[in-house]
Amino acid sequence: MLSLSPRGTASGFWRYAAPVLALALTALTTGALFAAMGRPALLTVTTFLITPLLATGGLEALLVKAAPLVMMGVGLSIAYRANVWNIGAEGQYIFGALAAGGLALALPAAPGWVIVPLLIAAGLVGGAGYALIVAWLRTRFNANEILTSLMLAYVAQYLLVYLVTGPWRDPEGFGFPQTALFSDAAGGPRLIEGSNLHLGLIFAPLIALAAWVMLGRSVLGFQFRVMGQAPRAARFAGFDENRLIWLAMAISGGLAGLAGMFEVTGNQGQLTINLGPGYGFTAIIVGFLGRLHPLGVIPAGLLLALTYLGGDAAQMNLGLSSAITGIFQGILLFCLLGSDVLISHRLQWKRRP
C-alpha cells in the first residue's frame, strides 16, 4: 500500500519553489480541464492569466484588488507563523470598514488631513478590537480560535447588513441597502488623478516590508517564530504565550481592518451589504502561497487578484462561466498543499505486514 513517510529535513529550495510549481500545475490542470470541455486550452489559460493585464485599466484594477489581499495576507502570515490560526480576517475586514464608514458618515465636512488619519486609526482599531474578542476567548477559555474567528466573521456580516439596511441606510437611496456616499475628502488622495489608486496601494507594500523586518530582526518577531515552531521551547524560554496570542490577533485583525477601511473609503465610497468578493478568505490562500513570508505575500496577492480579473476576462472573451475564478483558486490551493506534503514527505510503497 502507498504511505507517506517524513523526509526529515525538507528541501529549502523546494519550499520556495513549491508555489511556482503549484501555479504551473494549476495552469496545466485548468488547461486540461478546458481541453476536455472542447475549449482551446492555451487560449483559455492565457485569457485568464494575461488578457486582464493588457486591458485598459487592467493594471489599475489589479493593484486595487491586490492591496487588501496583501495587507491581510501579511497580517495572517504573522499570526500563522506564531501558530495563531485566525481564519476570520473577513470579519475583521468588515469591522474595520464599519468603524471607518461610520466615522466618515459622521464627519462629512471634515477636511482630508483630518479625516484620513482618523479613518486609518478607525480601521486599525476596529479590526484589531474585533480580533481581540477571539484572543480573549482563546486565552481566557482556551476556545479554539479557528472556530471563534470564523463564526465571528458571520456575526460581522450580519451586523453590516443590519446597519446598512437599518440605521445607516441612505435616506435618499429609495430603500436600496446602502449608506450615503462618503465625502471626497474621506476617499483620501489619489496616486493618479481620476483613478481608483488609493493610499492603501502605498501602505500595502510598506506594511509587508515592516512586517518582514519585524519578523526577522525584532525580539517580538523571534518570539512569534519560536512559539510557532516550538511552543514548548517558547514556554521554557519564559515567553508569555497569552501576550503573544493577543499581539498576533491584534496585528492580523488590525491589518484586516485597515484593508477594509481602504477598500470602502478609497475604492467603494460607501457601505453596501457587499464589501467585496470575500477578500478575507482569499487572503488565507495568499498567506500560504506567499509561504507565510511578508514579502512572498506581495506576488501571491497580485496573483490571486489576477484570478478575480481573469474570471471577468474569460466570460467576456470566451463566454465561460464566472465559476472559473473559484475553480482556479481551488486547484491552486490543492496543488500547493499537495506539493507541500510531497516536499516534506516521501511517497513509499510498503508491503502490508
Partner: protein
C-alpha cells in the same frame, strides 16, 4: 455560441471557406449584457438571456453579443461595464437596479456608446432606461391568492426594499384584499436577488407563520420548490417555472425582454437609437402571465378577466381609496397614483405585516 466559435476556427484554419466569396460587409456590432445573477438562475437573469438569444437569432452575424454574469451590485459592476465599453461594445445593457450609478458614471465617460439600464430612473443622452410594470402581475396574483388562501395569509419573499419591490408587495395586498378584505400579507427581505438556500428558508419561515400561498421577488425557483414540499401553492417569478413545480405553480409573471432587446439593437444597427424611457405593463407586450394552473376553472376565469381589465386600462391597480399600515389615507377614493409616486414608494398598504427596515 460554442458551435459558432468552432466554425470560425475552422474557417480561419482552412482559409478556404472565405475564398471566392464576397467579403463580409462589416464587422459584427458588439452588444454587451451585464447580469446580476447566473444565466442559470431560471428566473430574472435567465429571462434577460432569453432576450439576448432572441436578438442573436434575429440579427445573426450582424451582431456579436457578450454577457458577464454574477456581477454584484456595487463598485465591481463599474469595472465590468467599463471593460465592455473599452472592448468595442456599442450598446450595453445593465440589468440590475444596483448597477444604476455605475452605469451613469461609465455612460458619461463613453459618450459615443449607448447604454440601457433596466429598472433604474437615471438617464442621459446615451443612457436609456427600461422597466416592466411588474406590479400589474402582482395584483393578479393577489386576486388569485384572495380566492384560494384558506388562512387568509400570503407569504412574500422580497430582496431589498426598493420602490419596485414595495410596489409588488402593495399590489399583491390590494389584489388579495379586493377579494378578501381581511387578508394579510407577511414578508421577509433577504437582501439578495439570488440566493436559493436563503429564498427557500424564507419561504419555510413564512409557511410556519401560517402563509398558505407563497410568492417572491427574488430570482430562483427555490421558494416555489419549498412550497411544493409542503403541498401549498405559489407563483413563479420572471419566467414560467412550471417545470420546477408542476403541481404547485398557480401562474407566473413572465418578463418578456425579447421584443425590447431586438428593437433597441435594431435601432443601433440602423443608426436610429435614441435615449428614452419605457415602463410597460400587460399592454406593452413586455409582461404576461403564465397559464393559470392548479386552480378551479372559475378562479382562472376571474384571473383572466383581471388581466384583461388591467390591460385595457380599466383597472389601474393603485386606485384609491388606499390606506397604509397605520390606516392613514395614501390615496383618495377614485384617484389613481401617478408614476412619480409609484417610483418613490416607501410605505406599506393596510394588511401588510412587517417593516421595510
Amino acid at each position: 455560441m460554442q458551435r459558432r466559435t468552432f466554425g470560425q476556427l475552422l474557417a480561419a484554419g482552412t482559409g478556404v471557406a472565405a475564398l471566392g466569396r464576397p467579403a463580409v460587409a462589416a464587422d459584427p456590432v458588439k452588444i454587451g449584457f451585464v447580469y446580476v445573477g447566473p444565466v442559470g438562475d431560471f428566473g430574472w437573469t435567465y429571462q434577460h438571456d432569453v432576450g439576448r438569444q432572441a436578438a442573436v437569432a434575429k440579427y445573426g452575424n450582424a451582431i456579436k453579443t457578450t454577457f458577464i454574469e454574477n456581477v454584484p451590485d456595487g463598485p465591481d459592476s463599474e469595472k465590468v461595464i467599463a471593460d465592455l465599453a473599452n472592448s468595442g461594445h456599442k450598446l450595453i445593457f445593465t440589468t440590475s437596479f444596483g448597477f444604476m450609478n455605475h452605469t451613469v458614471k461609465i455612460a458619461k465617460r463613453f459618450p459615443k456608446i449607448f447604454f440601457e439600464h433596466a429598472t433604474g430612473y437615471k438617464r442621459d443622452t446615451n443612457l436609456a432606461t427600461y422597466n416592466i410594470r411588474f406590479y400589474q402581475a402582482r395584483y393578479v396574483q393577489g386576486v388569485i391568492a384572495g380566492h384560494l388562501s384558506k388562512t387568509g395569509i400570503a407569504g412574500y419573499i422580497g430582496s431589498v426594499p426598493v420602490p419596485e419591490v414595495v410596489q409588488g408587495i402593495n399590489a399583491f395586498m390590494l389584489g388579495m384584499r379586493s377579494v378578501n378584505p381581511k387578508a394579510r400579507l407577511k414578508f421577509i427581505l433577504i437582501n439578495s436577488w439570488y440566493d436559493p438556500p436563503k429564498e427557500g428558508d424564507a419561504a419555510k419561515a413564512l409557511m410556519d407563520q401560517g402563509a398558505d400561498i407563497i410568492t417572491q421577488h427574488t430570482d430562483s425557483p427555490a421558494p416555489l420548490q419549498a412550497a411544493a414540499g409542503r403541498g401549498i401553492k405559489g407563483f413563479g417569478q420572471a419566467t414560467d417555472m412550471i417545470k420546477f413545480a408542476p403541481t404547485t405553480q398557480l401562474s407566473a409573471a413572465i418578463d418578456l425582454w425579447s421584443p425590447y432587446y431586438t428593437k433597441r439593437i435594431g435601432q443601433v444597427l440602423d443608426g436610429t437609437w435614441k435615449t428614452g424611457v419605457i415602463w410597460g405593463g400587460f399592454d406593452s407586450g413586455l409582461l404576461e402571465m403564465a397559464p393559470f394552473t392548479n386552480m378551479p376553472a372559475d378562479i382562472a376565469a376571474i384571473a383572466t378577466a383581471t388581466v384583461a381589465a388591467i390591460k385595457s386600462g380599466k383597472n389601474k391597480v393603485f386606485t384609491g381609496p388606499i390606506l397604509d399600515q397605520a390606516g392613514a389615507s395614501k390615496l383618495a377614493a377614485g384617484a389613481s397614483m401617478d408614476d412619480a409616486a409609484l417610483n418613490s414608494m416607501q410605505w406599506l398598504a393596510q394588511g401588510v405585516e412587517g417593516k421595510l427596515t
